[in-house]
């Protein structure tokens, strides 16, 4: 970086789109500023008071002018809205089958786990040229995962999952910041994204401190240890619904509603099982709220997700 940079690195597929939008808005700002400043300055000079008893001609308004500076800004505003909404949709919708990585924020660190089971703190290794989706939650207060070089940011909220996705286009190290004020060492809750070649990433995953247990395996171990299997069998013969092939599918509830089985639904059904009971089953599952750590919960969730992937 130069000594006086004006832009952060442009290191993701979405970055140039955000920058283009930003550039357009800067242009719009400059044009309007020149218009207004120019008008005000010229009038102030041209119509300066020349004698103290000067009586300017009165003019009470002009409907055509009023309408034009109501309607033209309205159309410009709506056009900008559409441009912004378009980029926003792309920021929100991850492509199919992204690489899944999980992050837990706590005062004041980021705990990251890759699907292979590898863990890291305040660093995030990702492969270049591959969409990555982060599923995040917090153990305590609000945090926010922000990577300026990728132009992505999302709040990290206790009690629920939020996600963000990006596809890195540049090798190197980039800042991670916590962008939601979270207490004393908020400005120390920072880290680095390290973008690697996919092969290097693979080697790193399998390298020195590789985990011998993937997230799915860890999830399965805890699924068994907590006794979930007793009721949630792989066939529909258990006292609880089978969890095979349910992920991302709609399910009918006892109250007649239909919900999609996403990570937040799975999370809630583990911690507060009585909140949403699947049609045809009794509310007999014990409450696990406060008994499972956020990281274990993510492992169990990824195990339950894997039951669908392996079934397909």
């Amino acid at each position: 970086m130069s000594d006086f940079p004006l832009f952060p690195a442009q290191a993701s597929t979405i970055a140039w789109q955000v920058d283009a939008l930003y550039g357009f808005l800067v242009l719009l700002t400059v044009v309007f500023c020149i218009l207004v400043f120019g008008m005000v300055t010229i009038f102030a000079i041209k119509y300066r008071r020349r004698s103290d008893d000067e009586q300017p001609e009165q003019n009470h308004g002009n409907l055509a002018l009023e309408l034009s500076w109501t309607i033209i800004p309205l159309f410009i505003a709506l056009f900008v809205f559409l441009l912004g909404a378009d980029v926003f949709f792309r920021l929100q919708r991850a492509p199919a089958d992204p690489l899944e990585i999980y992050a837990v924020g706590k005062q004041w660190m980021w705990k990251i786990q890759h699907e292979s089971g590898k863990r890291e703190i305040n660093t995030l290794h990702v492969p270049k040229g591959q969409p990555v989706r982060l599923t995040m939650t917090s153990e305590d207060v609000l945090h926010d995962f922000f990577i300026p070089a990728f132009r992505v940011k999302n709040d990290v909220i206790p009690g629920r999952y939020t996600t963000l996705w990006f596809e890195a286009t540049q090798l190197g190290e980039f800042h991670i910041f916590c962008a939601e004020y979270c207490g004393t060492l908020h400005s120390g809750m920072i880290g680095k994204v390290i973008v690697m070649d996919p092969t290097d990433y693979h080697d790193w995953l399998m390298g020195a401190s590789a985990s011998d247990e993937s997230m799915v395996e860890a999830g399965q171990r805890q699924f068994q240890a907590l006794g979930c299997e007793t009721c949630h069998k792989s066939t529909s013969s258990g006292q609880g619904p089978s969890l095979v092939g349910i992920y991302d599918k709609p399910v009918k509830l006892k109250n007649g509603q239909e919900v999609t089985v996403d990570v937040d639904y799975i999370r809630e059904s583990i911690l507060q099982p009585r909140a949403k009971i699947v049609d045809g089953y009794e509310p007999i599952m014990p409450i696990f709220e406060g008994q499972i750590s956020e990281q274990s919960l993510l492992q169990i969730v990824s195990y339950i997700k894997s039951l669908t992937e392996s079934a397909e």
Partner: protein, 555 residues
């Protein structure tokens, strides 16, 4: 009126009518209450300013080396709490609104003078709670008090400060009610709605928001106190609460609150620009209704603070869409003010220089708002210094400039003394230059990704931060100079005539400073607002029929 002239030859006015500390502390005179607000507000402004100075000093170096992280967090929190709740929200309405609304509508006081005094004491009491919280050790939640940090995690004096803001909210509500009733019921005969100065329209729109919005934030903050004290689960998920609910409730008020802070600024600018161009405001009714449009739209856009809060994509789309509509009435105002200058007779005295500064800075503040209402760019810019810069452009570049503009313009009326024009021109230059140097670099820092509320930051951002601190120094000198010559003028300033700027409006037809009950006789208004034209001025002078004063009306 021989009794109106005192022995030493000085005519009686609201300042020398009665003497003694009690005559001030128990006064029901809206003008004296306005002055009391001015003194208290200035004290809060200085307290908030000292915190700002410490923030800028810390940020001169990338490492957090001047203060502990916790101290720094407390300073930006208290800067925000003091400046927003105890300076910006009351500023123009409580000082200039109080002083001028009855004068401009030809009334002898506000509708409820005792309530008006009660508002002041609620404000002072709320302020004392906030000061107590600061003196006992401060608060570190950020002025937004986001949960669950504020409700369960912070070990600072959050409840005390929240109770202070809660009490202060009642001051705001009661002032709003008072102004609305005053404007509805106490206008002079003939002063129809469309003959009112735009100052009154702006304050009417502001009062509307104060009355409708403030109860929501009061409830919200009280719920945070309940959660802290009684562990009732409302916002903290460990008790089954929802942290994002707080943000919805908080911004439902706090977004309209930024319009509480800027609409009175618009109100001042409209009056001053007409006077110094000797023209009626271009498109009077468009300017008047754009204030109401902003007040109403302001209640529908709170979710634009929450685009990255996990709010649904479609909710974000709707909030962004509605937010863009706010751009329209703002643009309408800017263009109408600019066109008021067209073919006018423009004199660049210091109040008018503040108008020029306001138009420039508010235009930048408004346009940079587009970056934040645009979904695609807000994701990157949210919670960065870009937001800090945008907010200060609107609040300091807009509201504080407008407040200073109004203070200069009406200073002769309020104090009976002229401020010195030379230092005033120097002051406005310092404020304008210092302000831009402080906050323009922050736009760049924000796009670079510097998050707000950071005690330490990466080294590559130091140059821009040093520029910002240098600018803040110039800005501080500008404010210091302004306060100094205002105080000087009280003792040494030239005696002000009734209408030093040849302005139009009922307040300029009475002496400076006004007598205690404002008008010897209630005027009958037969002319439009801003009668700066020759034919209009003529019609005004022929029809100054008056009603005899009824002493029993004077409270």
């Amino acid at each position: 009126m021989s009794d109106a002239v005192k022995a030493n030859g000085e005519p009686k006015n609201y300042l020398n009518d009665t003497y003694g500390i009690k005559s001030w502390l128990l006064t029901l005179d809206h003008k004296r209450i306005g002055i009391m607000y001015l003194i208290t507000l200035t004290a809060f402004f200085l307290v908030g300013g000292v915190f700002a100075a410490f923030i800028r000093l810390e940020l001169m170096t990338p490492k957090g080396d001047l203060f502990e992280a916790e101290t720094y967090n407390k300073m930006f929190t208290m800067h925000g709490v003091v400046m927003i709740f105890f300076f910006l929200i009351p500023s123009i309405p409580a000082v200039l609104g109080n002083f001028l609304i009855p004068l401009q509508i030809g009334a002898r006081d506000v509708a409820f003078p005792k309530l008006n005094l009660a508002s002041y004491y609620l404000y002072a009491l709320g302020g004392m709670f906030a000061i107590a919280a600061i003196l006992m050790g401060g608060i570190d939640t950020g002025w937004t008090f986001y949960t669950p940090y504020s409700s369960s995690y912070s070990n600072s004096f959050v409840s005390l400060a929240l109770v202070g803001v809660f009490i202060n909210g009642f001051s705001s509500i009661l002032t709003g009610v008072n102004f609305m009733v005053t404007i509805h019921k106490m206008r002079a005969p003939g002063l129809t709605w469309f003959r009112l100065p735009l100052f009154i329209w702006g304050h009417y729109a502001t009062s509307l928001i104060q009355v409708l919005g403030t109860p929501v934030v009061a409830i919200t903050l009280l719920l945070v106190v309940f959660e802290r004290v009684f562990n009732i689960g409302i916002f903290d998920p460990t008790y089954g609460g929802d942290p994002v609910l707080f943000q919805h409730m908080f911004w439902f008020y706090s977004h309209p609150a930024v319009y509480i802070m800027i609409l009175p600024g618009f109100a001042v600018i409209s009056d001053v620009i007409a006077c110094f161009s000797r023209k009626r405001i271009f498109g009077y009714s468009f300017v008047a209704f754009s204030s109401l449009a902003i007040a109403v739209l302001g209640f529908l856009v709170w979710g634009h603070h929450m685009f990255v809060s996990g709010q649904s994509t479609y909710a974000s789309m709707v909030f962004s869409f509605i937010t863009f509509f706010v751009a329209v009435p703002s643009a309408v105002k800017i263009f109408n003010w600019s066109f008021t200058l067209h073919k006018g007779s423009i004199k660049l005295d210091s109040p008018m220089l503040y108008v020029m500064g306001f138009i420039g800075l508010f235009t930048i503040g408004g346009l940079t708002g587009l970056f934040l209402s645009t979904l695609g760019t807000d994701v990157h810019l949210h919670d960065t210094y870009f937001v800090v810069a945008h907010f200060h452009y609107v609040m300091v570049g807009g509201m504080v400039m407008a407040f200073l503009c109004g203070l200069h313009f009406w200073w002769p009326k309020m104090t009976g003394r002229m401020y010195p024009e030379g230092p005033a021109k120097l002051g406005v230059m310092f404020v304008f230059a210092g302000f831009n140097l402080t906050f323009l670099p922050q736009f760049i820092l924000g796009y670079m990704g510097m998050p707000r509320r950071y005690h330490a930051y990466p080294e590559e951002w130091q140059a821009l931060n040093i520029m910002s601190t240098a600018g803040a120094t110039v800005l501080g000198l500008g404010f210091g100079l302004t306060i100094a010559y205002f105080i000087w003028s009280l003792f040494k300033g030239e005696k002000a005539p009734a209408n030093p700027f040849q302005a139009k409006g009922l307040e300029w037809d009475i002496p400076s400073p006004p007598i205690a009950h404002n008008f010897e006789a209630i005027p009958i208004v037969t002319w439009e607002a801003y009668p700066y034209g020759p034919e209009e001025a003529a019609s005004q002078s022929t029809e100054t029929a008056t009603e005899p004063a009824k002493e029993d009306e004077v409270v």
